[in-house]
Amino acid sequence: MENDETRLDEFFQRYRAACPDIEPGPNFMPGVWQKIEARHNFWFVFGRLARTTAAASAALCLLLLLLNLVAPPQSRLSAFSYMDALMADHTAESLYYTEAIRNATSEDQGSPALQQ
């Protein structure tokens, strides 16, 4: 076992000697800068797109805010006073109940047991 360990260490050393440092080719440096530029362009386009989207969203928010401010808030309620609105609401509620009672009565009158 110890012998194998020594032999393995020897292999590692031989492997180190068998794989010397590599001399880079003439296209190595231009290739590095080309890749840097390519990635830079990608991030540049991505960044510009992100900034444009953010600006458009901000503009839209501002526009909606302005529209909200410009449109008179009372215009929708000007036709009604508070009391009118309350009455309308109450009337609707009363109608609902009276309608229900009316329906129940007409059903009772229509039933054969009551006709006898």
Binding site: D4, E10, F11, R16, A18, P20, I22, E23, G25
Partner: protein, 191 residues
């Protein structure tokens, strides 16, 4: 260090000429390391370029110029690891890559028999590359950095960002696994 800390500082501040000088200083060493880490000479330059591109875009994250080298090694290991994962997906390693003949040839080399130097080197490379295929990428990278590149435990600590004891355990296990692959190749040639 192969470059002055001032040069690293200049490159960090966006000086392209300083960065160029750094690449020129380290490219040979990094390419050598990559060739031993990945074992595919045809792809070494490509992975090397990737390392320096990553270096360019992450230089501003470097805490201090003193830790530059372990940090560059970390980038190298990560790029090599990514490459190995990609190539593993492309071409799954087969257990039959080491033949009995290769084992006996390499064994005789280790025993001291001399042959033509280039052929010897080729055989050792072939044998070790085949042996490395039988351990995980993590083991291969760790063993190469420690046993072939000769990085100390302190340097490895900085590369892997783990403490010395954890590193020792990982190294021990990795060695056991490669030793097992070596032994089984030696005994029955069935690797």
């Amino acid at each position: 260090m192969l470059v002055e800390p001032e040069l690293i500082e200049k490159a960090r501040s966006g000086d392209a000429a300083a960065f160029n000088q750094m690449v020129l200083a380290y490219r040979k060493r990094i390419l050598g390391t990559i060739s031993r880490l990945i074992g595919h000479p045809e792809d070494v330059e490509d992975v090397g370029q990737e390392v320096f591109v990553r270096l360019y875009y992450s230089l501003d994250q470097l805490r201090a110029p003193e830790v530059f080298e372990p940090w560059l090694y970390r980038l190298t290991v990560n790029a090599a690891y990514d490459y190995l994962r990609r190539s593993k997906r492309r071409n799954e390693s087969r257990m039959s890559d080491v033949s009995e003949q290769q084992v006996s040839r390499a064994d005789s080399l280790a025993g001291g028999r001399q042959d033509a130097e280039d052929r010897e080197k080729g055989r050792v490379r072939e044998f070790m590359d085949a042996l490395f295929r039988h351990v995980s990428e993590e083991d291969r990278l760790l063993l190469t950095l420690k046993e072939v590149e000769g990085l100390s435990l302190k340097e490895l600590e900085k590369v892997y960002n783990v403490n010395e004891n954890a590193l020792k355990v990982r190294l021990f296990r990795a060695r056991q696994r490669i030793l097992k692959a070596y032994n089984s190749a030696k005994t029955d040639g069935s690797l």
